[in-house]
């Protein structure tokens, strides 16, 4: 995700624009890019969505199948999240088994959904200890222009919200919508020297020192956090980032519902 090099000139331009309060694409520091969500784009999936966050383009499909519960949670459905950073999306992505970048991304998206209790998994039990619904969230990145954490989370949430559980085909009664009960929104902030910018674009992300993703729910409560990259944050910076994440999350939440 950061193999390609940004010229010093470009780095300087990006920083000075942000320092002046107006980023290279005209945004304010705490302003996310335009979010466009299209629900239900793939007929072969039980749920799907395409999300464009600026020029970052992600398609997410949900497949539901019947499987076994984990022994220690015999009454709850199972969630499995996979990200494919296919080489179509960027010259820096390579075919092959997922690299640490993609694994971290998938796990952070997964935790954002799991820990926020977005889907009521207790309602996905078919026969305790034996059969439950398994949700596969497959995140397919088509075009990479920065901030996959948020684009992937939005795509997953929007796709889950359209998902119809195919109970009938399994002889398990009528089809029903996936029981979505919470609306977590992840907001990622990048630190560039002394500046904090929300929803970093590709150039910003490539020169960022540190990254913090904060997932908040409809009450503004924190459901998941993940710091990344080689730099650090002060505790004060973390607090400012959380506050911004709450605010931006509130603004974006309505776009995710179908």
């Amino acid at each position: 995700m950061s193999d390609d090099i940004l010229s010093d000139l470009m780095r300087d331009y990006v920083y000075r624009s942000a320092k002046a309060g107006r980023r290279t694409d005209g945004r304010a520091l705490d302003e996310p890019r335009k979010l466009a969500v299209e629900h239900g784009v793939v007929k072969t999936a039980e749920g799907s969505a395409r999300v464009k966050l600026g020029n970052t383009d992600v398609i997410v499909g949900i497949k539901m199948s019947v499987g076994q519960p984990y022994p220690d949670t015999p009454n709850t459905g199972v969630l499995s999240t996979t990200v494919e950073l296919i080489p179509m999306a960027s010259p820096t992505f390579e075919a092959g088994p997922p690299r640490p970048d993609a694994i971290e991304l998938a796990r952070v998206v997964d935790r954002g959904i799991r820990e926020s209790k977005m889907v009521n998994v207790a309602k996905l039990c078919i026969t305790p200890k034996e059969k439950v619904w398994v949700m596969f969230i497959d995140i397919h990145v088509l075009d990479f222009d920065g901030n996959l954490f948020d684009a992937s989370s939005y795509g997953a949430a929007a796709a889950l919200a359209t998902t119809i559980v195919p109970a009938k085909a399994q002889g398990l009664g009528d089809d029903f919508p996936l029981p979505v009960e919470h609306w977590p929104v992840s907001v990622t902030t990048a630190k560039i020297k002394d500046l904090l910018v929300v929803d970093p674009g590709l150039d910003e992300e490539r020169m960022a020192d540190a990254r913090l993703t904060v997932t908040t729910d409809e009450n503004g409560d924190i459901r998941a956090m993940q710091k990344g990259l080689k730099g650090s944050f002060s505790y004060d910076e973390v607090k400012r980032i959380i506050e911004t994440s709450q605010k931006v999350g509130r603004a974006l939440r309505p776009s995710l519902r179908p």
Partner: protein
């Protein structure tokens, strides 16, 4: 899970009037839509909807081939990676290449090898990525057709576009462009790809059961259809070109230099599959 062994007996894929289940006649294509230049990072790209298929193609290159020991000092490598999204088929496909996609990637790579002017770019590779987002039989033809437009969009020098289509046999009748039901319950499928200007066949596969006469009928249907698809490919490129001009005029200098909107995907699909089967069982069917 649908039991395909018991269905064909009831199912009449084509009626006495020669009308197929989705209303098409034997020589009719499914609706096809082609858009060029739909992705930002790729050097060239295209999107194809073809019946219930939704396929994206992207091209990078010519760029330095690596690992280096694969470089050909005399020419560019033309390498295709065909991939199905896990959610593109009814039963989730595990991510990563399976045997079927490895074979399709190979035959598509070979189909483009003689068309690209590879000698102009020694030591480089031209990388073609095909992603099947929604599958409904004929994905290799749709992917090839999209990849061809993406190559042109990337400005890769070629002798001509490559155009692809399949014909097959259902209910004893040779028909053009089988959909998923027809492919599953039909008697034969024969995908091909052609260089329209010269008539050279650069891809040809067949499985099922065709007499020699039926094979010739199938080929003639396909060859005729590729002429129509070729026209759609060129249209897409023409639209893309003029659109870009418009866009450039409208936009501020800071704006991205190319059109990047992924076209809205249609949600109305002609001939959408009611029945759908395991694409994982990779050696059993080549029809997706």
């Amino acid at each position: 899970m649908v039991d395909i062994e018991h269905i064909p007996k009831e199912l009449k894929l084509i009626d006495e009037k020669g009308v197929r289940l989705d209303g098409r006649r034997h020589d009719e294509l499914r609706p096809i839509r082609i858009e060029a230049g739909v992705l930002r990072r790729a050097d060239g790209s295209a999107y194809v909807e073809w019946g219930g298929n939704k396929v994206l193609a992207a091209v990078y290159g010519p760029r330095e081939a690596h690992p280096r020991h694969l470089q050909d000092p005399a020419r560019a490598l033309v390498q295709c990676r065909y991939n199905m999204a896990p959610f593109s088929v009814s039963d989730r496909k595990r991510p990563g290449p399976d045997r079927r996609s490895v074979e399709i990637s190979k035959v598509i790579s070979e189909a483009f090898a003689s068309v690209v002017f590879a000698e102009q770019f020694p030591r480089t590779s031209v990388d073609i990525f095909i992603e099947v987002l929604q599958a409904d039989a004929g994905t290799r033809c749709a992917g090839l057709t999209a990849a061809s437009v993406a190559l042109a969009d990337a400005g890769v020098p070629m002798r001509d576009l490559v155009t692809s289509c399949a014909s097959g046999k259902i209910g004893g009748v040779v028909c053009l462009d089988l959909n998923k039901d027809e492919d599953n319950f039909g008697e034969a499928d024969c995908p091909m790809a052609i260089v329209p200007r010269t008539g050279e066949l650069v891809l040809l596969q067949m499985d099922g059961h065709l007499t020699y006469d039926e094979f010739q009928k199938a080929m003639e249907l396909s060859i005729a259809a590729t002429q129509r698809i070729y026209e759609m490919q060129r249209d897409a490129l023409r639209r893309r070109y003029s659109l870009s001009i418009d866009e450039i005029m409208k936009e501020s200098p800071a704006a991205p230099p190319r059109e990047t909107e992924l076209p809205e995907m249609s949600t109305q699909i002609v001939g959408e599959p009611e029945l759908d089967f395991d694409a994982l069982d990779e050696d059993r069917e080549g029809g997706a």
